[in-house]
Amino acid sequence: MTTPKRPPLDRDAARAAAARFAILAEPDVAYAIVDTPVGKVVAANTKRGLASLSYADHHGGIDRVLEALSAGISPRVLEAPARLDEVRRELDEYFEGHRRSFDLAIDLSLIKTPFSKRLLQATARIPFGETRTYRDMAAAAGNAAAVRAAGNALGHNPIPIVVPCHRVLRTGGNIGGYTGGLDRKVKLLATEGITLGRHDR
């Protein structure tokens, strides 16, 4: 013997130990990658409610979404799919046409400006199958003139689908923009029985 050799690694055992940890631990932010008919979303819960449902291919990808949660809420972020069962269930029911409103608590901790917070809270109250304009939402958030700011804030909505920013259109019925790409907005509106004329897109 000259010096002890580095012991071998049972990588599967290490992975299993880490998986046990993720089940037992109580993170501040629990997340799971959830499949929906409009693509993969990064679903994340805090003790207060759903804080993220960001599209995995937007917002800079999964890593960037996790970093935003880490920096904006708490770095105690763990992948814990069992803690998102309720979110997954309600999303399934919504896309299957069995649910018109979500019973999930939402946590807008990622939103730092009061205007954006009020705007998203108002957006969360737009009923299933109805639409509003950016101007309506700016007014609902307390500043009717801030139409562009309203569009911006909706474009950065961290909880799409559940905070239904897809129900906000331009005055005159033009579709406007969407945080996850317009195809998704069209599909979500269609899920709720709203079809736009071709000239509206």
Binding site: D10, F21, E67
Partner: protein, 156 residues
Amino acid sequence: MAVLPPFQRFLEDHRDDVWRFLVAAVGRTDADDCFQETFMAAMRAYPRLRSDSNLRAWVLTIAHRKALDTYRSRKRNAVPVEDVPEVAHHDPELRDGALWEQVRALPPKQRGAVMLRYAGDLSHGEIATALDCSEEAARRSLHEGLKKLRAAEVTA
């Protein structure tokens, strides 16, 4: 500005190193409990950590302390037996299993230094931080520990 990675990434980045270290330090049977306690403690302290910290050395330092707790509780719970088994218990999963048994039998400072160097792959400076001593003292402990292992090898 650097920010702390989400804990999930920290766990994935360091689980292998912590597992390997703990299997060598306390054996396969106790490694899992130590692993859970190590990452529980790490997660508790994590938000207060500076983002430019040496995360690998930090988590191995915690693992080292959890291993010490395990040694202490074994000592407390040890029941004297009349018939001592003649064959030492070796960990079959560990290459050089007998050697790591001897490392575990070293005095605490030497054991810590040898474990952190060869199972944890830490530098002398990082070992000094983990053992809360000077780098010189860490080198000395390591040297003494290796000397003892070699002497045992010669007489074996």
